[in-house]
Each structure stands twice: as C-alpha cells, then as structure tokens.
C-alpha cells in the first residue's frame, strides 16, 4: 500500500519535472496544416514543398500544404490569429508584404500581429534578360536607359513588392529612369520577358535557375556570388550597394506559447541545417537564411526600417 503511494508520487514528480524542462514539453500530435497565403507555383509554394519531405522524415508528421490566396496575402494573414495556437497550424509569411501591406491601409492585420518564428530563405533580387538580349552586362542596360529615358521596360511581380522596390532603388542608385511593368506573379513576369514583351525582368536568382540557357542574369543582390552562378557578378561588385530580395519565413498565431514557438523554431532550423535541404534550395536558385525565433525581433526591425524608408521615398506609403 505504502509502496504504491510512493510510486504514484514518484510518477507525479517525473511528470512535473518533464513539464518544468520547458521546450521539450510541446509536441506535435497529428498532421500539421501549413497555410500558404498565395496560389500554388510561386516561390513560397515551391520552398514549402521542399520542406515537406524533410519534415516528415525528421519529425514523423505530415506537413499538409493548403493555399489561401487573396489580397496579396492579406486575407490569410488577417485570419492567422483566429486559428488554433497549439502548433498544429502554421502559416508562411513574406517580406516585404507583411511590412508594406499594413502600412498602406487597414488590411485586417498588423506586422507585429504575426508571430514569425523562423525566416528560412530569401530569393535575391536580380536583373534578368533574354539570352539573345543586346544587354551583355548590367552596364549595357544602364547606358541604354541613360540614352533613352523611360524606354527600357522591365517586368516584375506586382507593385509594392520586392521586385518593385528593387526597381525603384536601383533606378535611383544608377541615376536612370526605366519603366516598371507589374505582372501577376513571377510566372507572368517571366512569360512577358521570354515573349519579348519587355526588355528585362526584375526577378530573382530562382528565375535564372529555372530558365537556364534561355536567359542571362546581369547581376544578383547578394553579399557574395550565388554558388549556382559563379560567373554572375553581385550588384556590390559593380558598385551598387544592393543586397536583398524577398524573404520568406513561417509564423504562428500570436497567442502560441513560448514552448510551441521554441519547438517550431528548432524544427525548422533543423531542416534548414540539413545539408541535403540546403543543397536542394541552392540548386533551385534560392539563398539560405537562418534567422531563428531568438533573433527575429532585431531582424524584423532592421528590414522594416529599410522597406518602409524605400516605400515612403517611392510614394507607395505616406
């Protein structure tokens, strides 16, 4: 009898101890709903698809991807805080979207409403031309734009997006005036480039990876050259201080506990640290990023300031 009581107490203690140890207390039970706030086929979707098999492999649960497009992502982000916060639902987030959209108008969510716990990659800005384009180097394009103001047409995905901000920034740095033509998503912007409707595209290094020999990337906005394109110079090498692109991460509802947030940050970090995952991402033109929950605040503050300044100067927000 007495022995049994002791056993019970022991079990209770063990449970308490495991609870107290913190992060390890949170765990997944069942498949995870991974919401992408855009349609399929874009960079957000593709990178999530790359994570999917690694997640299943490492943590034994399915990552079920669903698409909830609308309002440039705003529809999904506005619903995030109403979803369950037990860690079974996560949502992709994109910079600059989650910073610029709420600054434009009330779209149902604010940047700080989203509990971003990991930024796992970015697609570096890049200027891309057709393989048969007369622009052999970035300088050729700049010279043409100087000689013929506004006549150099450049397609890109949407407005107030990474492509659009890159266009505004580069035009200012190079002291040129080009014409930005917004399209619905990268796919349509690339179609316009390949179809000779525009002279160049503001895209990402991922476009050059997909299109291969059909296109030429003139410069890429990274600190160092992309390993997949050892011959393509960075903007920095060419004298333009441009590093950046579209950053992608994952968020939880704001009310999620620190345990759940920590667990997710660790899990995504583990996938990100897998050499096979990194290689697959690089092979497809992505650039890796490892901002975990702990460093998120500083990262977001720095990005916000830069994006909001650029957008304000361009007259996109007040």
């Amino acid at each position: 009898m007495l022995k049994r009581t002791f056993l019970k107490m022991g079990a209770a203690l063990a449970v308490t101890a495991s609870l107290a140890s913190g992060a390890s207390a949170a765990e997944l039970n069942g498949p995870v709903n991974y919401i992408i706030p855009f349609g399929p086929g874009g960079e957000s979707d593709i990178s999530a698809r790359f994570q999917q098999p690694f997640f299943k492999d490492k943590f034994g649960q399915d990552l079920v991807i669903s698409y909830q497009p609308g309002g440039g992502g705003a529809v999904a982000w506005a619903t995030l805080n109403g979803l369950s916060d037990d860690g079974q639902t996560i949502m992709g987030v994109n910079l600059p979207h989650i910073i610029i959209k709420p600054a434009q108008k009330d779209v149902g969510f604010k940047t700080e409403d989203l509990k971003v716990f990991h930024m796992f990659h970015f697609t570096p800005d890049a200027i891309i031309v057709r393989a048969d384009s007369p622009y052999m180097t970035l300088e050729d394009l700049v010279e043409d734009a100087k000689a013929n103001p506004a006549q150099v047409t450049i397609s890109g995905s949407g407005k107030a997006t990474a492509n659009h901000l890159a266009h505004i920034k580069f035009d200012k740095m190079a002291d040129i005036q080009t014409t930005y033509v917004p399209f619905k998503g990268t796919g349509a912007a690339v179609t316009a480039l390949l179809g000779n409707q525009v002279k160049a595209e503001w895209g990402y290094s991922t476009v050059a990876a997909t299109q291969g020999e059909e296109v030429r990337m003139l410069a890429v906005a990274m600190e160092e050259r992309h390993p997949l394109f050892p011959d393509v110079p960075t903007f920095k090498e060419l004298g333009y201080d441009m590093v950046g692109g579209a950053y992608r991460g994952i968020a939880l509802p704001k009310s999620a506990s620190d345990e759940v947030t920590g667990m997710w940050s660790d899990m995504i970090a583990e996938i990100n640290n897998d050499p096979a995952f990194r290689q697959q991402m690089l092979d497809n033109g992505f650039a890796m990023l490892d901002v975990e929950a702990a460093g998120m605040e500083d990262f977001m503050a720095a990005r916000s300031e830069e994006y909001l300044n650029d957008a304000r100067e361009a007259g996109l927000i007040e």
């Binding site: 349609g39 399929p40 086929g41 874009g42 979707d45 593709i46 698809r49 790359f50 999917q52 098999p53 299943k56 399915d62 990552l63 079920v64 991807i65 669903s66 698409y67 909830q68 497009p69 609308g70 309002g71 440039g72 705003a74 529809v75 999904a76 506005a78 619903t79 434009q104 108008k105 009330d106 779209v107 149902g108 506004a150 006549q151 150099v152 047409t153 949407g158 407005k159 107030a160 997006t161 014409t179 033509v181 917004p182 399209f183 619905k184 796919g187 349509a188 179609t191 316009a192 179809g195 000779n196 409707q197 525009v198 997909t210 299109q211 291969g212 020999e213 059909e214 697959q280 497809n284």
Partner: protein, 500 residues
C-alpha cells in the same frame, strides 16, 4: 517518345493509380467548392515516395477527372462544379429539366474523353512548337482576348443583349473589389476588412448559380427534374450516335480548348465559352442552343478537357504553369528533382513521356469510369426527395465556399450574391454574364494597364493596342461576334416584311 515509355506507363500499378485518380477527381470536381487544386495539394506528399512518373500520372488523372466531374453539377443542379463548366449549364440544365439528364451526362463523358485525348496528343507530339503560342501572347493580346470573351455575352444572350451586357459590367465591377492584382491598390472596400480579399470566382459560382436553384426548389411544388415514367435502357448508344454525328464540332472545340489551354491565365472557363459560341455560330437552323441542344454540351466539355493537355505544354516546356493545378504538378516535379523548363524534354525525357502516356491512359479510363459514376450521380439526384436534396446541397454550398480559404466572409458574400442573383433573375438577368465579368475583368484590367505602360514607354500606344497581328485577329473575331447576332436578327425581321 519511343514505344518503351508507353509500356512503362502501362504497369499495373500505374493503371490502378490512373483509375483511382480519375474516379477521385470526378467526385471532387462534381462537388461545387471542392477543386482539383485542393485535391492535388493534399495528395502531393503521397507522391514523394513514388517514382516521379507514377506520381505525375496520379496527379494528371485527378486533374482531368475533376474537369469532367464539374459537368455533373452543371447539368443536374445548374451549378458549375468548376469554372470550366460554366457553359455546360446553358444546355445541360435544360436537357436535365426535360428528362434528358442521363443523356446529357453521357454526352459530357464522350466529349470530355475526346477533348482530353486531343489535348494530350498535342502535348505528346507538338509541345515545343505550341509553347511558342504562350509567348506570342503579350499583355495586349490578353486584354483583347478578355474583351472577346465579354463580347460572347452578346451572342449568348440573344434577345436580352442589354441585360447581358449590364450583367457583364456588374461582374467586372465586382472583380475590382479588394486588393488589385497588379497595382496593389486596395479598392472599393468601403473601409471594411471583409472586402479586402474581394469576390472569389468559386464563391460567386456557387452563390449565383446554386442558391437561386435552391430557392426555386423550395418555392415551387414541382419535381426538381422531370423523369420519364418508363425506365429506359442505358442511353450510352444514343449519346454515342449524337457525338459521332457531331465529330466536326468535337474536333474544333478540342482544338480551341488546347490552344486556349496553352495561354497561362486564360483557363477552361474561357475555352469552354469560346468553343460554345463557335458551335452556336455555325449551328444548323434546327438547333436551338440554350434550350437543351446536345452540341452545346459537346462543345464545352470537349474544350475544357482539352485545356488539361494544353495547359501542361507551357508548364513542362517553359516551366510556366498554365493553371493552379499545373502549378502544383510543377512543384511536385521540383521536389522530385526533375527540372522543368526548356531542358526538360531532353534531360528528363523518360519521365515526361511516361507521364504523357499516363495522361492518355487516364483519359481513356475516364470513359467507363465516367459513364458509371455519371449514371449513379444522375439516378441519385433524380431519386432523392426534395426535402433531402435541398438541405444536402445547401449544406454543401456553405462547406464548399468556406473550405476555399477558411473564410466566413466568403460564405456571407456567397449567400448575399445568391439572393441577389435570384432577385435579378426574376427580371431576366442571367448569372453567366456576371460570372464572366468577374473572371474576365481582372484579365482585361491587367492587360490594359501593362499594355498602356509598355505602349507609353515606347511611345507607340496606338501600335501597341491595334498594330499587332494577333490582336487584330482577336479584334476581328470580337466585332464578328458582336455584330453577327444583330445582323441575323435584322435579316430575319426583314424577311417576313419582304414576303408580305
């Protein structure tokens, strides 16, 4: 393209996958609100553990089945299960009302198989050259194509031209609500967050088509569909004879569907519509389109299934997905380590060709599977008492709309549009022009803004809009479709006067 790829597509496992995919796709497509995109998104992880070609066969089979399944609800409930089936309602529902629903479902099956085969053969034999079509279409061509689509309202609403155009204009207005696709402006939300996401096409389809049918079912004592007293034998033979007689219509519509499917962003709804109006324009005098003419179903259903093969052309050759389901297939391929794009046919040829043969096999399997499921769907809709049918369908409209993006707002907008649609329907305004405006409005707007931007930058605005040869062709067709009905009406009015 060798015969070996055909044999590797024919393994028992791949055949089972193709059959399963077609059946699952047909069921998903038949339920308004459930789309091929959703089904594919959920199933992609299953394909990670398969070899790439089998995975693709499964995904392609689901996609092609879903486009066919969209016809059931269109015929039996006057509600397109997918946007591709909008024009199927024009003649399908009248046929079902007069008791020919089983015939209509069988016709849709034959047409879908023919269209699917033409599209898949185009993908097999002509993909690289045909992918040039996608590139030849610039912003301004999309603008004119959408104007052409809108002009079809005129030919579709004979005798009701003004009401048709008013509906189209209203649909275009609805399409501007929310965050604009290319300019990122937030428009017409009246300060409300509800409208930021705008009116979704699927929600509008369900609301504008299905809700009025439900209200009428409740408001009138009649049976939903007329049933013949004597149970007739299977009407597959009759359907086959009609389809065989209209082989020219089937081939023309399939070619139209393939070509429009190649254009990223245009999609099955436009293809079905263009094929329908072409069939109507070249109709024999005894054919009454819009009142249950079998050729109307044949045209739409062959064209929309042809877009499946057509849509894979830019997806595989250029790495640019034609439709959302294509985009999911593209993602699944990338995960498998297959590089789509210009080098795919040479580097991953065996996967590509096994997939295309798999798609062909799935399309052929759709014939028996589709006829069987179609019979079952028809019988159950006809035999279910109204007291069960109305709540069941009503429940499905709400779940279907909600599931698109887990949004209660979408359900409210759907119900609002439904009641609105029923009220204006009393005054002779049809749902189709409104939905067309909603689908084509953004395509027109984007094309116009982009064309205008490029035209002004290069200082050749007039040449941009009117100087390009493809544009001129589309403009000519637009004028034809706008003025031909007026001309025919004028001639018919003149004839009796001359005789008297």
């Amino acid at each position: 393209m060798e015969f070996g790829h055909f044999l590797s597509a024919l393994t028992p496992f791949n055949l089972v996958l193709a059959l399963f995919g077609v059946v699952a796709g047909t069921i998903v497509g038949s339920i308004p609100g459930l789309t091929a995109t959703m089904a594919l998104a959920v199933l992609v992880p299953i394909t990670f553990s398969m070899d790439p070609a089998s995975a693709l066969i499964l995904l392609g089979a689901i996609y092609t089945g879903a486009i066919y399944g969209g016809a059931y609800a269109a015929i039996l409930l006057n509600t397109p299960g997918t946007p591709s089936a909008i024009a199927t309602t024009f003649d399908g529902y009248p046929m079902a009302k007069r008791g020919d629903g089983d015939l209509a479902v069988a016709l849709a099956c034959f047409a879908s198989v023919v269209g699917g085969l033409v599209g898949a053969f185009a993908l097999l034999l002509l993909a690289p050259p045909l992918s040039k079509v996608a590139l030849a279409f610039g912003p301004i061509e999309y603008f004119w194509l959408s104007i052409f689509g809108l002009s079809l309202i005129a030919s579709l609403s004979t005798g009701n031209l003004m009401k048709g155009l008013a509906g189209g204009a209203f649909g275009m207005l609805l399409s501007t609500v929310g965050v604009a696709e290319v300019s990122a402006d937030i428009r017409l939300t009246f300060g409300s967050q509800m409208l930021v996401g705008g009116f979704g096409v699927i929600g509008a389809l369900i609301g504008l088509y299905c809700i009025p049918v439900l209200i009428d079912l409740v408001a009138t004592p009649d049976r939903h569909l007329k049933v013949e007293e004597d149970v007739r034998s299977v009407r597959i033979g009759e359907a086959f004879r009609i389809a065989a007689r209209s082989k020219f219509n089937l081939i023309r519509s399939s070619v139209i569907g393939t070509l429009i499917g190649i254009l990223p962003g245009a999609g099955g709804s436009v293809a079905g519509l263009v094929a329908y109006s072409e069939a109507k324009r070249t109709a024999r005098p005894d054919q009454k389109f819009g009142q249950g003419e079998p050729d109307g179903i044949l045209a739409t259903e062959s064209a929309n299934n042809a877009t499946v093969g057509g849509g894979f052309i830019p997806t595989l050759v250029l790495g640019i997905p034609g439709t959302p389901p294509d985009a999911i297939v593209l993602g699944a391929l990338l995960v498998q380590g297959v590089r789509t794009g210009p080098t795919m046919f040479s580097q991953s040829g065996s996967i590509v060709y096994t997939f295309i043969y798999g798609l062909l096999i799935a399309t052929v399997l759709m014939l028996p599977a589709g006829l069987l499921i179609g019979r079952y769907a028809y019988k159950s809709i006809v035999n279910i008492p109204k007291a069960v049918l109305v709540p069941t369908v009503g429940f499905m409209t709400i779940i279907g709309t909600f599931s698109i993006r887990n949004s209660v707002t979408d359900v409210i907008l759907m119900l609002g549009l439904g009641v609105f649609g029923w009220v204006v329907g009393r005054f002779g305004f049809a749902a189709s022009p409104i939905v067309l405006g909603l689908i084509l409005g953004p395509i027109a707007e984007q094309g116009f803004v982009q064309g205008w931007t490029i035209g002004s930058a290069t200082g050749n605005l007039f040449g941009m809009f009117f100087g390009r040869s493809i544009s001129q062709g589309i403009i000519a067709f637009t004028l034809l479709s706008l003025f031909l009905p007026l001309y025919t009406a004028w001639r018919q009015r003149k004839k009796p006067q001359e005789q008297s």
